[in-house]
Symmetry: D3
Subunit: 334 residues, 6 copies
């Protein structure tokens, strides 16, 4: 299956281990972006992937492209332009101290990109899936235009459009983010959203509580489907016990089938990117023709295992994820 | 508010991560000292702070002063003299293996300091709070004299004297430490002490058990007040589940008001300095005119968050501590 | 007491912290081998130890010998020959992601070793204990011959032979491993085995379940004794809750005495080598004339504390282990 | 002497050792700025220093202030505002490969600063020297206005204004940079400029060649004085043999006295900041009342020793610099 | 231009900085291989490149493929098989202490590869250049067969075959290496060889000495052409002054044209891979249609700049290399 | 040959690379001592070596013993006692900036050692050479007594006593150091001294200048022999061009034979310990029965190669040193 991702691509600086920003005399340098992270995992897992963004010409963005290519991602449709890449600084939390992010992403080459920067028909040549998140339309008006143009091309070619809500309060209000989502909904075939985000953006609530998990989640995705008209909707749930402990699970409504994943309790090494690992898992399940239950199960396990990996990308292979699904060996694998 | 701290200042060597001393081919270099740690936090939080000690003249103590100044601490009253700084080696424990400390602090410039080394009236000019711990009088007789002279000057100027018991069995017997405390008590306005230390030094017990926390702690601080005549007394409690897990809470008797903080269960990154973070929090609460409950709550939260930070200093700002008090967001702060 | 260890000796490469192999741009370099790890701990603890293996002549094996000597191990009987040392790559897991090992140990100097490479009588001169694991006979037929020759010499001299089952499915089938064990059993005085391995290799089961721990373990070691005729048998149990959490305990049947150790729940820093730490503890208990209960208790505590130490060797001294046995201070040791 | 510095303040990222940007998976994090570097050295050397800039409110700029304060710099007049700090990426060259810099400094809090952001009279209270470089007016028109306002205040108070030409072709044309210089010249008392920059900005040439160094440099500074009317002018010369080898020297015309420093041939560890080390040395010489020859000699030695230090700041004390001037001991100082 | 490389691919372990093997507690992990290094540089420079080798299936070789892909190299024709990758350990020398290499490359997946492992027609589809070195036929007889088969396919398609002599005395005798070269010569269009290697393998000498460089080199390549019948021959010269200092230059005979490059005196950061950087430069010159003088000049500059870069690959872009050829700016590039 | 070393043993802290003390947030941890360094090299080279010192009981000195044992040194005669080990801080210089040492060695377990701490007859059992330097008697009066007692035992047993002058102005005056030397001279068989130190301590001068090296050195050692009556005297010469470049050579007068070594020009990685490497080389030459010229040649080459190695110990094997003597291959050794 051939997947197209379109989104921002940022330099990712992070102090080592548990150091706080104020203590850091060196930082790990990597690259990130919601869509890029999904593309990296899918490409590692053997899918054909092309990632589209816009970066300036300098040695740092060159290194950024090397990072993408290392996963096997096709970087041919990445456009050069603008003066800078966005920056993303992550301080890793622990226990009662949450992780913290500082963004410096304005005026980047991507934020200033316009439709004309991309050869959209060439990008979509042979594609099966188009992946996009709510961050892109929130970054600038021109990017909302780009998102719409890409979605229209996808629809024209009758290919899947997977959209992760990825609501970021620092980029837009919930109202505005709901607006983007509604505008793009006619083109979206698969929606992924965190339970809280879906509620906030669509103004929905469920009468069912924590103790009737299945009814609650089915209620929420059904309401979302009614509002948006999107046929396949996955909802993810996170209970953050502390910066070091999380419980996660998810559900997937796929036409009339509905399944809830097992829950995973993880000791957190690095939680960032676990949402992207879910989306990658979902697309993988779809690509491989998994059942609805296996698809959401694989996606939830992919998300869980990501919590144990430093960096925003799920460096796990499908075998490892399936072993976790099957509650396989936990001891050293020799 | 202007705070004066007076105490030892040591070079702090520590193997990285979970390495044991025997495995360490490099060590992290920093600086520490109970009073210096309190001063650093208060200065980071915006208070005016002057730290007083005595160090030799060489590039290592120069770096030590740079470290203090980086927090904004006034180092003008630090005297130069002696041949060496004391050393403090910390091996970080984990789970069933406790952390270990090796001290090499004898014959340091500070240990040999005498009253005449300090311009006491100049030091106290404009001061509101004087902070001292039980380590200083335990280091040498001349330092006990210094402590007394500083305390008298504080009393003369009618300013707060905050004293942390900080009992160290390797420096003195409990009896001797109790003696220092009683001798200084007439000058002390606020006492901070770990429950176990207060019991040992003052020979007190409580009939109330673990299950009646509030009564037990009120009982202890009331007895301590009766013995010492100090009007404000805070007591801290630590339940060490393992080197990786701790439960902490505290109580504060302030004239006739008494409050117990919530308890914090933390996964430990580095526990050293959590007592100093408590004292810093207490002084901050007093400086800001917090209620008794908020003061001990802020101090307990400050102590809890310190457990998640490598190094002996609480690199958290008051906002973060208040968010923890208010049980705020635990997930990534973007 | 003088202990002889005989076994493979490998270069140990490991990414730092929680990095996955695919993320590692540098690796920690150390050395390992089941028997070498046991020898290192015993030598650190003050016993006289000689380790016997075969390594090629180059700067890397020279460094390997330096590592052994640093613990005080006598390396005089290590033979030089062959073209390479075996390699062992360890990726440290976390939470839901298990640790992973890649071996590259074939065609090493040790694997190709033959009896004639070793001056067996000289090696055993003055020895009290001979230590061997099931890995050695599984590596090559010539090494099975060596193992037999060493064991015969030990029997001739009437010294203890301690054998750790250490079953590795990637090196041999359970059937074959059971065969080695039965062939060597007449020479073995003390057997150490993981519960699962003993069951697999000897085809035994116990009717007692999890809830009657003592009966179950006594049942297993008694059956093993009936089959093998070995007088002293220790069995270890591991419940792997996740890559970060383990419960371990053990039992020891010594002639007619039988004792079960307390169980230890550890937060895992590095689990590899915890079996070797058990064997080292057992031999130490025997050497010091500990009671059966204290011997298995010391061995179980040694194994538990190893989980908190990076690297395959138990860098703890007997005092620390005894403090853990006695449920001693868990807080910082100043 | 009290010195005021005014200029940009950037986060400084640099790959370790000789790594190229494309190879760097971690970077050293520090802070830099031509005027900040001069201030840091002067404050280390015991002068009273206040640095003025504008930075946003976040943990990274907080760390930036900690860095300044560690040298003892007064940060009270640093204004908070804007969305970001500028970034400076340095790749350290070697031999035939020159060092490379990537700037990402546009739209920073400082670039957008206006006169009204600063309390100019308060800043200059008690000041003896004002230090500025040609980078500031080249960054934005409003900063040119600021520079002028600061210079006027300095003139009003009759204090020294030291201006380093610091021409950066990526920020402005030589013509424009010459324009700034001429506009500010009436306020400048001491000018520092690289030989090539003076020639380019002022359109001057010397008929004397390499072999008559003294005449050539005197010729250039005399021409510069004629054009600009600045009474004291220092000129620095650099012969870059390779990225690893440099020859540097300087001359200083001070009223009618003129002196040329010795030349230093240095093996380069990190050449960046060597110009700032010259300016710091010059101001120090003036502050200490050194002779013209000693002033330029101290400045040239300060610049030379900076080549051996990683980071943009001259972490040397005046004693070390004087020892170098006096051709002192080169062997290990025990 | 599309270039095919075929050769071994090894894991590259190296102590950091100047550490000796015996001192190294961690090592840098990378990947290398003469042909892979050439491919990496050409792919970085924008050429279309496919590298062909054989590696086992495990996480380490997966990381090896990620490294190749990061440069943009097509890894589609890399075959999976065998039990291990070869290893290459490099200790970096300094001054009077030469660098040292330990190989552990026998029994690798590549060494055991046979013709049938590769889909040779598919590999050569659309290719313009085939690159091979003398290491491949020296590794095993089956690899000599592979080399021949690849060369024949190249000849059939009438494409360039570039062969670097790369004589390794530890892999074969000079006589044997000369034999491989002569056997492959009918298929080779461009030969690259170190002066000493050409003399040893072909048994030639030149009557011209050091002082008539041009005549000497023309003499050698002319003799080589007479013996081998290869139309284009480049010869490289290295004068190793110490492990830290080298002088290098080269000459190229191309049909009847002959040119000698300038000589480069470099301070060495890491000399390994400088020969591969020469070959990459030569192929690039050919691809771009450079003159004979510019081709050998670009190749010699590429080789010189490699000496300043850690790792075996020339992480420089053609612009930097051309600037060095043109004796461009040596100072910091801002 | 069995060699006994007796001297101080210190923890060695050093910032990484070219960092200055003020920049160092971590330091390399190792161990050093003039006599220990000589012992380490000789033990690496296959001699039987016992090192004698006195260290306290803690985990840091335990690690110190592990370091000694790693070289194969016998640590059985090291006595435990005292409260601390001495410390040695080294800042590595570069080019015009010399290296700097901070000592903190007073009140160490060794400094307080007395004769009765050592079982001198047992120490000397089977010994051939006793090695001592002028640092030991300079540390304390009781150590001067120890030195004398050890020397007398050596004389009684008629074994070689090698004494390195190792004058340290911070420990004693030249006059006092000359006094120690004269008092110990009757027991010394081989003296090693730096040219400058010999002149200072013995008050001698040579009329021969730099240009008649052989005459000058023979003149100096002959005068020294006349004064001290020691039959074999080696003199070393160092010309420190900068912290990065040194020229070294030596001469050896052995009864009536006299030889001067070649001179070595080295680019310096770490110069500390190069004197100890000379002494180790000299003892090795004597042990192997080398000629006088080969002995001083080997010692001078050993000293030269040490300059290229980080840490105070010569991690080179005799083969490498002989290759350097024979002007062997300088290029990569594959």
């Amino acid at each position: 299956m051939k997947i197209i991702g379109f989104g921002d691509y940022l330099i990712h600086f992070s102090p080592f281990g548990n150091e706080r920003f104020m203590q850091a005399d060196s930082m790990r340098v990597s690259f990130t972006g919601a869509e890029a992270n999904v593309c990296a995992a899918l490409s590692l897992w053997g899918e054909e992937v092309s990632f589209v963004t816009r970066v300036p010409e300098n040695a740092l963005s060159e290194k950024g492209l090397m990072f993408l290519r290392s996963f096997g991602i096709n970087t041919r449709h990445i456009t050069r332009g603008g003066k800078r890449m966005g920056l993303y600084f992550l301080e890793n939390g622990a226990s009662v101290r949450p992780s913290q992010v500082i963004y410096d992403r304005m005026d980047s080459g991507f934020t200033e990109a316009v439709k004309e920067d991309f050869d959209i028909p060439a990008i979509f040549d042979g594609a099966d899936v188009f992946y996009l998140t709510g961050i892109t339309p929130a970054l600038s008006e021109n990017l909302m235009d780009c998102a719409l143009a890409f979605c229209k091309e996808a629809k024209k070619r009758n290919i899947c459009v997977v959209y992760d809500v990825n609501f970021r309060p620092t980029l837009s209000s919930a109202e505005k983010a709901g607006g983007f989502l509604k505008k793009l909904a006619p083109f979206i075939t698969h929606l992924v959203g965190n339970e809280e985000h879906l509620k906030m953006l669509l103004g929905i609530e469920s009468a069912f509580g924590e103790d009737s998990r299945k009814h609650r989640l089915r209620d929420i995705v059904t309401q979302a489907r009614t509002i948006l008209g999107i046929p396949h909707i996955a909802v993810t749930v996170r209970r953050t016990l502390s910066a070091s402990d999380a419980i996660t699970y998810a559900a997937f409504l796929c036409d009339e089938e509905f399944a809830v994943s097992p829950e995973y309790h993880t000791h957190v090494v690095d939680r960032v990117g676990s949402g992207d690992a879910f989306s990658a898992g979902l697309i993988y399940g779809i690509a491989k023709g998994y059942s609805v239950a296996d698809t959401v199960g694989f996606a939830a396990a992919s998300s869980a295992i990501k919590h144990t990996i430093t960096n925003d990308i799920n460096f796990s292979d499908p075998d490892e994820i399936r072993k976790l699904m099957n509650n396989g060996a936990k001891d050293v694998r020799r």
